[in-house]
Symmetry: C2
Subunit: 250 residues, 2 copies
DNA sequence: GCTTGAAGTTGACGTAGCGGCAACATCTAC
DNA sequence: GTAGATGTTGCCGCTACGTCAACTTCAAGC
């Protein structure tokens, strides 16, 4: 006996559109197509449809569903399913992390932070320069940095969030007053800058001087650091150089 | 200072294609578009981009991202995020269930089941007739049935999986031998059928007779039950009627 | 025989978030 | 002047169908 498309749709819980779709992509071809174009299905197609729906509801794509059903090889099917399970687990873990991050973001907003650039990254796992950092210093260095971040205390995190801003603002003020980079007040700020940097990685003397130079070379840092004063970066680089030569091991 | 599209792309980790896309949907409009069509971005756009990427990475759609950023109202943002978190949690739970189901399916395949129609539904939460069952008997009955299934022991589950098949095969053999439906051997099989049915719901006398008639009326049951013998369903209905009248309370 | 309604058909467009072409324009360096 | 890098604007493609629109077919009632 042959079922019409609507009968199959009703008894299987899918729409007739879905059945037409499955036909059009060759996933479920009707037993017979009448001269007037109408589709008729037999028991065999119903069973195939059940398998399709089962696998689809497991979250597999229709492509994969087609392959699994085509390969009647049981071992293949197990492999595909195992792989799919891996994916599901990973995705589930990812969502778990997302939930945590969203929670942290909500918390942050509630504790009075607006979504200003400074704290928009609080509790956020990525920083805006990560892509470039990976390009510039390599993956190992960046990953090591993240490794280090995991050991942070709350105070460390606070320092990482606000430290650089305090340094930049302090330097801007001192420079405006005409204070020399060798002065203690400047060097104390650079000390703070060094400490904050050490939260991510520990620069050697040369590396720290290089970092100062990089600030100068990079237009974005120039903008980010010196709000208004375009020459602040050079001031900072000079201060960093003095600090490195006097305090850091070569 | 103005950044070109490639510079922004590199420093933010997205592609220039993405930036063009964001422009085209109005999510991130460049600070300036030169007469030759080139896009230039300023600090302000970079900050906005960071917010966009942050929210996007939290899993919000670009539509929602746009709304959240536009509503500078902090309370709104919190609400949206809270709602989004709900969704994330739900999705995570769903994936968890899927993992379980996939696991069960793999187990089933390993324990020697091929993907034949009989056992393809083992460990599966839905059965192929659910949609129709809901239509025929109403949601409460179906839900009650699922409720009952939760109390199953392993033996119950085994019975549910294999019971009907054993009944159908046994009946087919007895009918082929010409055994009358009133005979003990037939009635014993019907007893098993009744017990299996009771795993889902407990039919009254009339309900059980009605079920037998339904088998007869339904073309799919006719096919499913009587493999080869088209008249097996009537035989079964008659046996069920005898059983109901002799054993069940009215 | 004619109309009506139910059930079917084949396109075609829309969805989200871009990726990946192609064809063309512009800018910089040698 | 020419090559190469860097840009631009379309447009198609992807998933798994939903949702029209415009027709055709078939059975039933007048």
């Amino acid at each position: 006996m042959a079922w019409s498309i609507a009968q199959v749709a009703r008894s299987s819980g899918v729409t007739s559109r879905t059945l037409r779709h499955y036909h059009s992509i060759g996933l479920l071809v009707p037993a017979r197509v009448a001269h007037n174009g109408r589709r008729y299905y037999e028991q065999e197609q119903l069973l195939r449809l059940q398998q399709i729906l089962l696998l689809r509801d497991l979250g597999l794509s229709l492509d994969v569903v087609g392959e699994v059903i085509a390969h009647r090889d049981e071992q293949d099917a197990i492999e595909v399913l195992a792989k799919h399970k891996e994916w599901l687990v990973k995705e589930q873990l990812r969502l778990g992390r997302l939930v945590q991050t969203v929670d942290a973001t909500i918390d942050n907003l509630k504790r009075g932070g607006e979504m200003s650039p400074e704290n928009v990254f609080e509790g956020f796992e990525r920083n805006p320069y990560e892509a470039e950092a990976r390009e510039r210093w390599g993956d190992e260095a960046v990953d090591a940095s993240y490794q280090r971040m995991r050991g942070w205390t709350e105070a460390d995190a606070e320092k990482a969030r606000t430290g650089y801003t305090r340094v930049h603002e302090g330097l801007a003020a001192l420079k405006a007053e005409g204070v020399a980079v060798t002065e203690l007040s400047v060097q104390e700020l650079i000390q703070l800058h060094y400490e904050v940097t050490c939260l991510f990685w520990t620069p050697t003397r040369e590396a720290y001087k290089g970092l100062g130079q990089m600030y100068v070379d990079d237009e974005r840092f120039r903008q980010n650091i010196g709000s208004g004063d375009d020459a602040l970066v050079e001031y900072m680089r000079d201060a960093m150089t003095v600090y490195a030569d006097s305090k850091l091991d070569s």
